[in-house]
Amino acid sequence: MARTQQDYDDIPGTFVFDAERSREGFGINMFCMSLMKDANRKAFKADEAEYLKKFKLTPDQTDAVLKRDYNRMLELGGNIYFTAKLGATDGHSFQQLAAMMTGSTQQDYAAMMLGGGRSVEGNRSRSGKVAKASKASAKGPGKAKPKSSGAKSSKAKSNAKSKSKSSAKRK
């Protein structure tokens, strides 16, 4: 049941969509794929929980979809190119989704991107094992720690802000 540990689990704030998640998340992703058709989007919007029953999701997966907890969906096997279709069904732009996943406002997220994006410094490794990251990881690894998006929002928000400032300096 427990997920096999992988070397890439050390990358902070990242759920690698590997073969194991692909198997687990088949239902979520096929549900998202179904939203490419307008009739399905309407049926889903009319009764979300009922519509989801067609896709054999686990209770946790169903919960994540209903709550629009995008990070949890990724953790449970959703793939971003698929879950983005759910975002589009809700009328969100991709950047809005990205902001949600990083626990940031869209404005702050957009400002971070214009400032050169999120720096890799301090964001390489959760364990701090990667040499290049050692300096930055003194601030504490896992600044972009994978957790449900809601709980972390204020912390991640301030993180995004400080990043955009530091990369603006690089100009």
Binding site: F15, F17, D18, M30, M33, M113, R118, K152
Partner: protein
Amino acid sequence: MAKIIAGVGSSHVPAIGAALDNGKTEEPYWKRVFSGFEKSKAWMAETKPDVAIVVYNDHASAFSMEMIPTFALGCAAEFPPADEGWGPRPVPVVKGHPALAAHIAQSVILDEFDLTIVNKMEVDHGLTVPMNLLFGQPKDHWPCPVIPLAVNVVMYPPPTGHRCYMLGKAIRRAVESYPEDLRVVIFGTGGLSHQISGPRAGLINSKWDKSFLDNLSKDPKKLTRIPHLEYMREAGAEGIEMVMWLIMRGALDDKVDEVYRFYTVPASNTAVGHIILENKHKAAKGKRPGAAKSAAKSKAHGRKLAAARKTTHRIASKGTR
């Protein structure tokens, strides 16, 4: 004999397509991106390839989770633009080159690359955005037939960089064993650094990108040794799609002329990278490839290369807003 004359690397950010389709190219944000491709369009109009092979990835458009082919070669006569949720992009239907595609499939499979053959497929922004960037926005038809090669980079693991590079070499052997005199340009698309999923979304690593472009040009074998973990850690979870550029690079000579490069951050969530590499023996336009052997021709060829080197433009701009 058909010949690969040049390779093009280009990002395929969907928002670039949306900016084109919604007439936003003159807005300062987008002008910064599109201005980097003006010289490329001129180069492409001058180069006039007979066929383009475009290495790209599908984004849950043609392939859902029902089938995940690692390498899928488009052998159809045409490939309609896919509806990615906002209606199909208003671009011409992509015409294939079924004869050359079938030849490539047969050749590389016997060369031990077990491709999936696709005879019916819609193509998404992964393919059409780089085509717009290099061919502009033609109304009715693209200037040349296109052979799409879709690579799985959505589900981990994608093929290794080394595997991609070697596939490029096999594609080159395939093209060179095709009897018709065709001048072929190969595209590697996607990247550069970006992460669009999870709490680390927004990651950009310009330093890493620049070194990738440098090595792509001068020392591609070095790139073939980069493990997936490093791509994901340094260039973002989705930055791993840069392995597709190595198929393009593998199909070229070991030593190439870098005739153009462009890099800017950001387009939406992504670092935009672009490079044009020419084989040293790129056949002159409209000439039989074999004719380039004569001394007079090679002298003229040398002059052309010198001229090309002179007009090399390296632009490295950053977001200015």
